[in-house]
Assembly symmetry: C2
Homo-oligomer: 572 residues x 2
């Protein structure tokens, strides 16, 4: 696969659509100048284009396997992971105190987008380490930080998240893993965890597991859960990996895709662990990691959408079939109206997913740098949208990419099918898209709509300002935002949370449609209506934005018609 | 996989939604009484539930392979195919003259739905034979009919369609395969064909290929193409398979799914063939086969949607997770609003796809029995909708089915992932869904909208009649139909075909949404608003029908904004 980093998109996004400037203007991120950002992205682009993209097919054709208790990773993955670590890409946003670069999440988001597009199954490894670093930075003791974070940043050690158990998926509070004090400040952790991404590998010196478990005096439910750091090898007095811990990979899952990423069943049998954060307060620490990872997974969907779009466009520009209706055109299928439509939808929605992810990262950065709760609330609001819309876009774009390829799309050798299979899990892990949508209409509405309305104020003020110069683009965006505002009000007026849950997913997708109009309008404003971005904005606003109406109508439909349908009614 | 045939759906559909009675009232199908239909479906249900469903996983886990030039099929497929043939299911709608049962396509459609749901990759074999039988019945010489059709019906021999070549996919006219007269009434057929479903197998005595090729005096393009019957073994004087023909399977494709169905690259090297139909008139004969197959493929999508829905519902009814909001409910995830929503969408759209397929079959039957061109036009109109909406529904429902399973959906052992992979090709083969949509707004509008308006007259008259008794269900259906009617008028008023093509796919999907409202309304009328079907109708009309508005808006957007986007604009 020839992968090309989307530098042009990041150029317009960082300058105009979701500007980097306010972040660079803070003391925290003073180094993140426009020049610096360009240099960082260019360097990451080289890594992704020249190196990581080579491994994309390897991971699929030669999956990670478990041999005599040892995970053997796909050809090239060790080398690829080493390059990612050595380039500093794992610790981009980590604090310089432990060897990180201290760069804004906006830049990390761009780089994660590129790495995901180049080789998703490999990129999942550093993404897990990034989440672990952030959890440790915020909650671990200084001793743990000093020992683990530099190794995670360099890529010599890798990190994993251990939440799920067979009976505890979306309902984390149902977990049964236990931890007993050892009397020496460590804990003996026991239990089985499933779906552990990159649960082991053969290229890191150590694999560090963050494991949720319950202490003897932990209450039932989420409030009795604690978080433990459980390394594969117990560090010796010099901090080097010492004797093996009492844990093992029981098996690897046989998955539909993402074969290069070993998904493990892990068994902990009195393994030595260190408490991270306060006892019984593990969920708070885990949420730090999960919020980071949620944006990261949304970006995975986006990265796959980018790669699928590029692959489909390249195929369409090469494939000749039938008489094309464009005089002086390419003579390839890209000139057929329906193929052009598919590619335009793919490109337009990839841009939306990217802008939403960057806007979420910007809010995280501004919240961190300024402490302004309005930014923190913005980040919290955008996280579920970035995750669910990014991954939904990844799925939809990959599906359309297969369609552009026609029969060849169903044959594995084109790579189009791999995107379709690999990206499917992103809508599920790190909280299913349904869970994200429930978060959006539940927790994220607990402020009475303040954060949402603040965002819609911006959307509408911006559209207002363009009514004179870009009337036919600005007006539909303003109208759509008004419809969304009314929907927010209607949902908040519904005290029964389940009434909202019944329409949560269409609400989230409708919200993203409106934000898409806003971001496309900003791009059109930046480059002009007659530019490539102006034309893409017009396509989006005329053809995709209208979907917000039926989505928001669905979101207001409530739970009555749904629960009127009994499970028996749903049998055929 | 435990598969359960959707007999209850067929009961209400055949009695009320798309009644069998008018078909049974014709002389041609006088035998197809309600009792007869019930007996046939019950027998087919037993075959699918008890036997065919066993093979679904086999095909995926043990794909068909090519060994030393011989295709070895998946375990059990030989036995399964034998049972299908012996049960008479291949020749259900074939003429009794050659051993068929002469039953309406309405019943064949129901049985194909069930067989597709039980084991898609196996069912594709008899589907190909059914298409070949119909092509031979309509276009072959009596000698060919007498020799081949009884063997195809019994399943002793199987049939394939050979259209595609590397440079000739959607553009069939670009094919290069050649046929030279042998001087003895036969022809020497040479060329390479790709994507040949069930191109060979190890259970039939003979494999009969219908091959499109050009005679020496054939013009370029589709008007110079002829159709040839080219058997794997040349029948001897007794009609038994004799010496091998000059053809071979070069390779089998490595596909994303449908592994049980061998997809072959075929090489013909002066193979002996017999002309089917007139010289240079092969496309007409092939279209007979393709139209049959298009409905058949739509039904494949539908069958997979049914199976994916059943699998997801069974999982949801078993899986406990989190506190559910329904007092006295099941205590399983089916009681979570978003899970209930997903299952309701799956069930509601599966019903729509089924009703549309049966309506298409009814029109075929009525056209055949009465010769009334209005029925023939109705069949032609509904064929692309049945194909594209059926397969789109298959894709969407399978995708949602994976989501209902959460993390388990990405693991192959649940079977949810197999539906997602297998069904993907149905939106591509037998004419991509884009091709179907172009047919709908192109050829199927050449009557000035007569067939479409006749259908919408029925939809609106029916809704009108229910305004008093089911006002909140009937009114939205009537309104949606009016919007569709205006859209039809607008598109027909557009003389540039490419303006229509630019919105063809959303038009087709919007059309299906409106038909879905109509059929759900009929079901609600039959069983009452407070019945399971009435509740499902309300869910569909409140939540899914509204999508017609944005789809039809997209369909009217025209080509300007699309072609304003150059291929360069679509690069990131």
């Amino acid at each position: 696969m020839a992968y090309s980093a989307p530098l042009s998109d990041y150029d317009v996004i960082f300058r105009h659509v979701v500007p980097l400037a306010p972040v660079a203007a803070t003391e925290t991120f003073a180094e993140a100048s426009e020049d610096m950002a360009q240099a960082v992205l260019a360097e990451a682009a080289r890594l992704c284009e020249d190196k990581l993209s080579q491994y994309q097919r390897n991971g699929d054709l030669h999956p990670a396997v478990l041999e005599n208790g040892v995970v053997r990773t796909s050809p090239g993955f060790a080398e690829g992971h080493k390059a990612i670590g050595e380039g500093g890409w794992i610790g981009m946003s980590a604090s310089p105190e432990h060897g990180g670069m201290g760069l804004p999440m906006m830049l990390t988001t761009a780089v994660n987008d590129m790495m995901s597009g180049a080789c998703l199954s490999l990129q999942l490894a550093p993404l897990m380490s990034q989440g672990q670093i952030e959890a440790l930075e915020n909650h671990a003791s200084d001793a743990l930080k000093d020992l683990y974070i530099p190794k995670l940043i360099s890529g010599e050690w890798t990190g994993t998240m251990n939440l799920t158990e067979p009976q505890a998926g979306s309902d984390v509070g149902a977990l049964r893993s236990k931890a007993e004090p050892d009397g020496d400040g460590t804990y003996a952790v026991s239990g089985q965890k499933i779906f552990i991404s990159w649960g082991d590998n053969d290229f890191a010196e150590n694999v560090c597991h963050l494991v949720l478990a319950r202490l003897p005096d932990g209450k039932p439910g989420t409030k009795g859960i604690s978080l433990f750091l459980v390394p594969k090898f117990i560090p010796d007095d010099n901090g080097a990996p010492g004797k093996p811990n009492s844990l093992r990979v029981v098996s690897l899952e046989h998955k539909m895709g993402l074969h290069g990423s070993p998904t493990a069943v892990m068994e902990y049998d009195g393994a030595t662990g260190w408490l991270v954060g306060e006892a019984h307060d593990g969920m708070r620490a885990m949420f730090t990691m999960m919020n980071n990872a949620r944006l990261g997974v949304g970006v995975q969907g986006l990265g796959q959408a980018e790669a699928a779009t590029q692959t489909a466009l390249a195929y369409a520009l090469d494939r000749k079939q039938g008489r094309t209706p464009v005089a002086g055109g390419t003579g390839t299928i890209v000139d057929h109206a329906d193929v052009r439509r598919m590619l335009a939808e793919m490109r337009a929605d990839t841009f939306v997913a990217r802008a939403i992810a960057v806007a979420c990262a910007q809010a995280i950065d501004m919240g961190q740098a300024t402490g302004d709760p309005a930014w923190t609330a913005r980040a919290a609001l955008l996280t579920p949208i970035a995750k669910a819309f990014g991954t939904q876009t990844g799925m939809r774009v990959a599906e359309t990419g297969v369609q552009v390829h026609g029969g060849m799309g169903f044959i594995e050798e084109t790579g189009a099918a791999q995107f379709y299979r690999d990206v499917r899990v992103t809508a599920i892990y790190e909280g299913t898209n349904g869970i994200q949508a429930m978060d959006l209409v539940g927790r994220k509405m607990m402020d009475g709509g303040e954060a949402m309305n603040a965002l819609l104020d911006e959307v509408e003020a911006h559209a207002e300002g363009l009514r004179a110069t870009l009337p036919d683009l600005a007006e539909p965006v303003w109208q759509a935002s008004e419809t969304l505002r009314e929907t927010v009000e209607a949902l908040i007026g519904t005290s029964d949370l389940n009434e909202r849950f019944a329409g949560a997913v269409p609400f989230l997708m409708g919200f993203a449609r409106v934000l898409g109009g806003h971001f496309h309008l900003k791009a059109a404003e930046a480059d002009g209506a007659d530019s490539a971005r102006g034309r893409l904005a017009r396509f989006y606003i005329e053809r995709l934005l209208p979907e917000h109406a039926s989505l928001l109508e669905q979101s207001r439909a409530g739970a009555a018609a749904l629960y009127a349908l009994s499970p028996e009614d749903l049998a055929s």
